[in-house]
């Protein structure tokens, strides 16, 4: 939607939404949130930006093509599960450690994998649809 008002607003909202999304992701282990919800919010951020500024502008704000993110996310999830297996314990057994005073564990890393996968997948879907909708607009 090529409107000035929306374009201006979406610049603020984009960053706010992204921050909120990571906030929701990292906090999810203790309060409502988590990888999926966080990812949806991030998708919302990009969808909003694409809506206001067009698809290619939104694509420029993405470090990797969405589908690569899917692979990356799944890979992270898999690796977080394999850590337990390498410890001679069952698949997906949690391993915890401290980083900078924050308690970090493979389940949290797994949640990051969830985040990236869902984000990549939905974004790829939305981008693909936007792409085909270009003809209409």
């Amino acid at each position: 939607m090529n409107t000035l008002i929306l374009q201006t607003t979406s610049r603020f909202l984009f960053t706010l939404l992204l921050l909120l999304s990571i906030f929701l992701l990292l906090r999810g282990h203790n309060e409502p949130g988590g990888g999926f919800i966080g990812a949806l919010v991030a998708v919302g951020a990009y969808a909003l930006y694409a809506l206001a500024h067009g698809l290619s502008a939104a694509r420029q704000l993405l470090p990797l093509p969405p589908l690569r993110l899917v692979g990356l996310g799944l890979l992270i999830a898999l690796l977080s599960g394999l850590v337990g297996l390498l410890n001679q314990q069952p698949f997906m057994t949690g391993v915890w450690f401290k980083v900078l005073g924050l308690k970090l564990g493979t389940p949290v890393i797994f949640d990051i994998g969830v985040y990236l996968t869902v984000f990549g997948a939905l974004l790829s879907a939305i981008f693909a649809l936007e792409e085909s909708a270009k003809e209409v607009r």
């Binding site: 008002i5 607003t9 960053t15 992204l18 921050l19 990571i22 502008a57 420029q60 900078l100």
Partner: protein, 159 residues
């Protein structure tokens, strides 16, 4: 400069919501904000110093907006609950004095939130804002009131 401010803002927000006021968490928040701003790099190329001043003028402006919203809502309530709705809707073209994207957006949003008016769209050349009014007995009067109470306030914050 503006990027830095914004970055700090986001970091403060981060500290507030996570409730962990340690140096480590500050760094995490700063780094996260930094990353996000890095992603949003293309956004920060023009007039970034304005942002810093905006940070100070914001509270005053917010209070003004809040007050206008209360007034406007009461006016709607009055209209809604009166047995015979005394409204006189109309769409007027309001010539803009404000120029920048931010100013126009602020003004448009403010118009929407304030009594009886609702921004519909800005003309392509950014010279005119089309406003829907609930009580447009006199289009000139509506335009004047917008100019007096809103456009001036916006200019004060942004310039």
């Amino acid at each position: 400069m503006r990027a830095f401010t914004y970055n700090l803002l986001l970091t403060i927000f981060w500290l507030a919501v996570t409730e962990v006021f340690t140096l480590g968490n500050f760094l995490v928040g700063f780094a996260l904000s930094f990353l996000i701003l890095l992603l949003a790099r293309p956004l920060f190329d023009e007039a970034s110093r304005r942002y810093f001043t905006l940070f100070w003028k914001l509270p005053r402006f917010a209070l003004l907006m809040l007050w206008e919203i209360v007034l406007s809502s009461l006016r709607v309530a009055q209209a809604v609950f009166s047995p015979r709705m005394k409204i006189q809707p109309g769409i007027i073209a309001y010539p803009l004095e404000v120029k920048s994207d931010l100013e126009i957006t602020l003004l448009a949003n403010l118009i929407t939130l304030t009594p009886g008016t609702l921004s519909l769209d800005v003309s392509h050349d950014r010279k005119v804002l089309y406003v829907h009014g609930m009580f447009v007995d006199d289009p000139q009067a509506v335009a004047r009131s917008i100019h007096e109470s809103l456009e001036k306030a916006v200019l004060e914050v942004t310039r």
